[in-house]
């Protein structure tokens, strides 16, 4: 009984300790961002490896998610004779929810895990320590550019995901199932609002970008510098990012769409 309590207490303390270290690191990463802006080349390289290399999986997933939405939405709506509203269903689910959330989940798997592994291995092979001894701050040189790249890439990826998804829904709905083309687009335009839906979707993906980048970088930087430690940290990145994204999504949705 007491042992259980003690273990609970230990776990709690460890959790808060990690949380604290994470926040301190977050502060240092933010403090390093001005020095990244002076050297855009560093940022460019990271936008490439974080954003461009995630492009393929985002486009393919977006297309299929949109197509599935088209198919499922049609099958449901046709029962009510409301298949004209297919565009609304596809576009709203993508722009409000699936775009930001699925992009963030894919990002955690594709870019987040790679970030953690890369930073963890740099730590394990003493590259970070070596930089420090060369009077180069690894947080400014390595962590901040990666964080900023994630922050920039996430909303762009989410926008691409949503746009491709709407096209996917169009292919299935209009191309295969015979929904009227004009109705598809006009229903979308009538129901999707720029401020409430698109801007909120972008805000969501910016928040997810911060969280996903932060978790991935923290896990890498805090990893036990062995191959086992790095592989565990990589797993933790994917799990923690996914949970954080889904949890935050609920909170953000409640804040944004809860009223009226």
């Amino acid at each position: 009984m007491l042992d259980g309590l003690q273990r609970l207490g230990q776990a709690g303390l460890r959790f808060f300790e990690r949380l604290g270290r994470g926040h301190i690191l977050f502060y240092y990463i933010l403090a390093g961002i001005p020095s990244v802006l002076v050297r855009p080349r560093l940022l460019l390289q990271q936008v490439y490896s974080v954003g461009v290399l995630s492009l393929l999986i985002i486009v393919v997933s977006g297309l299929f998610v949109g197509m599935v939405l088209g198919l499922q939405g049609y099958n449901t709506l046709v029962d009510f004779g409301a298949e004209e509203s297919l565009g609304t269903v596809v576009a709203l689910s993508l722009v409000r929810e699936l775009g930001p959330v699925v992009t963030a989940l894919l990002f955690a798997g594709r870019a987040g895990s790679a970030l953690t592994a890369e930073i963890g291995l740099m730590k394990a092979t003493e590259q970070l320590s070596g930089m420090e001894m060369m009077a180069v701050d690894p947080i400014k040189r390595v962590l901040s550019p990666r964080f900023l790249a994630g922050f920039i890439s996430m909303p762009l990826l989410a926008a691409i995901f949503s746009a491709v998804g709407v096209m996917g829904g169009y292919f299935v709905g209009v191309g295969l199932l015979g929904v009227d083309e004009g109705a598809y687009w006009s229903q979308i335009q009538a129901s999707v609002d720029f401020d409430d839906d698109i801007i909120n979707g972008v805000i969501k993906s910016l928040v997810f970008g911060v969280v996903a980048g932060w978790i991935a970088i923290y896990e890498g930087y805090d990893a036990i510098p062995t191959s086992e430690g790095v592989s565990r940290a990589t797993t933790r990145t994917v799990v923690h990012t996914s949970l954080a994204v889904l949890g935050l999504d609920f909170i953000l949705t409640a804040l944004m769409f809860g009223e009226n």
């Binding site: 070596g130 060369m134 009077a135 701050d137």
Partner: protein
């Protein structure tokens, strides 16, 4: 302590450092003279690498002072510490090369970070440093294509890129074949004399280290147990120094890890107890 007129480059006084409950240094006094090669030797686990990180300011001691070139390392502001580090080179055991850059860019890295040199001058400088370690021809290779010895030589070229006043070598000879060991021994001596550096070599390879060093410290159990020039140490009759320098399996450092009496332990097994 070695006798000399000029103040030592590195001066360590009463250093205490512990990791968790394990005491690593318990009152260490050390002087590293300028322009010489000083060896710090001791069995594995005595915290030799830790000592280098303490000198470099990456770790903070619990007590005592470390002065490098007259500046107290752990009282410096961050900016000044970074400025001081530009004058120190630390050669990691693994080389710590940046794996996403090729050999040329690795050596150019500190120059690009800290100077604003035009590309042509930078190229000349990097080639000069690579020439010094004999790897000018390997400039386009990636770190993954280098052997361990070559990686260390590249790291050495990188460490001298900013023309530091001292270089610290962390186990430079470990795991090297005799040829690359010979190359490294020669390089350490040559660079030290040609560039007017001061070198600290941390190692447990007795023969190679003693051969190139001007002064030797022996560490054990968190303390300096012996020091002197290699000749003086050869004549040192303390049991511990003899065991280490001659590589005897048993002595003050016992062969057996601390345990209770063997016979007693065996008896305990028959009673079914596992403690």
């Amino acid at each position: 302590m070695p006798q000399s007129d000029t103040p030592p480059l590195v001066e360590i006084r009463g250093l205490r450092f512990s990791r968790g409950s394990r005491m690593i240094f318990d009152g260490v006094d050390l002087d590293i003279p300028r322009g010489k090669i000083t060896a710090i030797m001791g069995p594995s686990g005595t915290g030799k690498t830790t000592l280098l990180k303490l000198i470099g300011g990456q770790l903070r001691p619990q007590a005592g002072s470390i002065r490098v070139d007259g500046k107290e390392v752990h009282k410096l502001s961050r900016d000044r510490l970074y400025a001081l580090r530009k004058q120190m080179g630390l050669l990691f055991q693994s080389g710590a090369l940046l794996t996403d850059l090729d050999v040329f860019e690795n050596v150019a890295f500190p120059l690009r970070e800290h100077t604003d040199l035009p590309e042509t001058m930078l190229r000349d400088l990097v080639l000069m440093k690579l020439q010094a370690v004999g790897l000018r021809g390997a400039r386009h290779l990636m770190p993954s294509e280098l052997s361990g010895g070559m990686a260390r030589r590249v790291a050495l070229a990188r460490a001298i890129a900013l023309d530091p006043m001292m270089i610290m070598y962390d186990e430079p000879f470990t795991g090297q074949d005799p040829i690359s060991m010979g190359v490294l021994v020669k390089l350490i001596r040559q660079l030290n004399d040609a560039l007017g550096l001061s070198s600290i070599v941390v190692s447990h390879d007795v023969a190679e280290t003693v051969a190139i060093s001007d002064y030797v410290y022996l560490l054990s159990g968190g303390k300096v147990v012996a020091h002197g020039t290699p000749d003086e140490l050869g004549g040192d009759q303390s049991e511990w120094a003899r065991q280490f320098l001659e590589g005897l399996p048993d002595g003050p450092v016992p062969f057996h890890y601390q345990a209770r009496d063997f016979a007693e332990d065996l008896m305990a097994g028959t009673e079914g107890g596992r403690e």
